[in-house]
Symmetry: D2
Subunit: 113 residues, 4 copies
């Protein structure tokens, strides 16, 4: 299943529930914020070591998958409403990043960005 298929599945889902009028760009950006907040809450009190193993915890893993899915679904829906091709935009961004950050540049460059 491609990203286009997922976007189409969500579009049909929203239409069948008359949610189109709610799915405006501002509202969807806010929904994305809400879901990133819920994802963050799963990790906020974990140590770095615990967080690195969080996906191995059978109680936590389904919650992580659920929140990652929510962020992903609102991101796809927002891009669909705006008419943006996420995969093309992502590849174009990595292309630009390959020029900004030459191989071997190390962590100092990441921190300065």
């Amino acid at each position: 299943m491609t990203l286009d298929d997922l976007a189409a599945r969500q579009r049909a889902f929203a239409e069948a529930r008359d949610w189109g009028p709610f799915h405006t760009p501002k509202n969807l950006v806010m929904a994305l914020t809400g879901e990133v907040g819920e994802l963050t809450e799963l990790f906020q009190w974990l140590t770095a070591t615990e967080a690195a193993r969080a996906a191995d915890d059978p109680a936590l893993r389904p919650k992580i998958e659920d929140e990652l899915a929510d962020v992903f679904l609102y991101l796809i829906r927002l891009a669909d409403v705006l008419g943006v091709d996420l995969v093309a935009a992502a590849n174009a961004k990595i292309d630009r990043n390959e020029h900004r950050f030459p191989p071997g540049v190390g962590g100092a460059a990441l921190r300065k960005d």
Copy 2:
């Protein structure tokens, strides 16, 4: 290009720059927050009407594509580091939502969620 290809491209990008140690779950969740913040800044002072047409604005469109790409890339990277299949998680979530929100349920159900 599939999501797996994009994840592999980012993994190679991070490895070539020794960014692996920085790409921990907590750090990537925070990076996602930062990028959603930048995306939000593009829409925050627009009216609902202006926001609906934002992607038609030639000055704004490349910024929107850039920020959507950043959110998408950190989401893919986070899922990759956690070993979560985003497409499978998203489909499983829509499956559950189809039970929670029957067709025709309307906007009141969305708002109560």
Copy 3:
């Protein structure tokens, strides 16, 4: 009651529950993200008109107060842990903004910021 009193009240609260080790800057920044996400969820599906009257809705108002309080409390706690005087920092920022944005500058300047 001043902001210092509130910071002291929260510090005592955290100490009495042995939460000090969890209240690191990274964790508190993440907690702030989580609470801003919850606040956002209260407004995301409202129209601009509905949102302007949200605090008059007897069912919604206590939720808004609760989420504003959560954001405020984590912000105070974070500033306290970092040793930053929020009121001084806020006044210094308005001072700078008075130079960046002369009176009468209008909304275009806000949007370009």
Copy 4:
């Protein structure tokens, strides 16, 4: 200077620049998200140890103060627009938390919340 003074200072600032129409609840919630995103970016690539000392770094400290101020100022402005007394709401929330989390409850309770 009290929180009321700061709210009044910001109100006058917004009025003198005709920013009132932009300072709607939805827009201010989004502005808060943007500022929390910028604050998060200061901490995201730091280790826990580095983040704990971030405010001692002379290059980083003014940026931290600046971003904390931005979050604080939009929070105060949002509460003012909504007619919510932040200090009263925060004290009421700590009162409730004292019942939910008895002294000595420890970190497990925080994580379950």
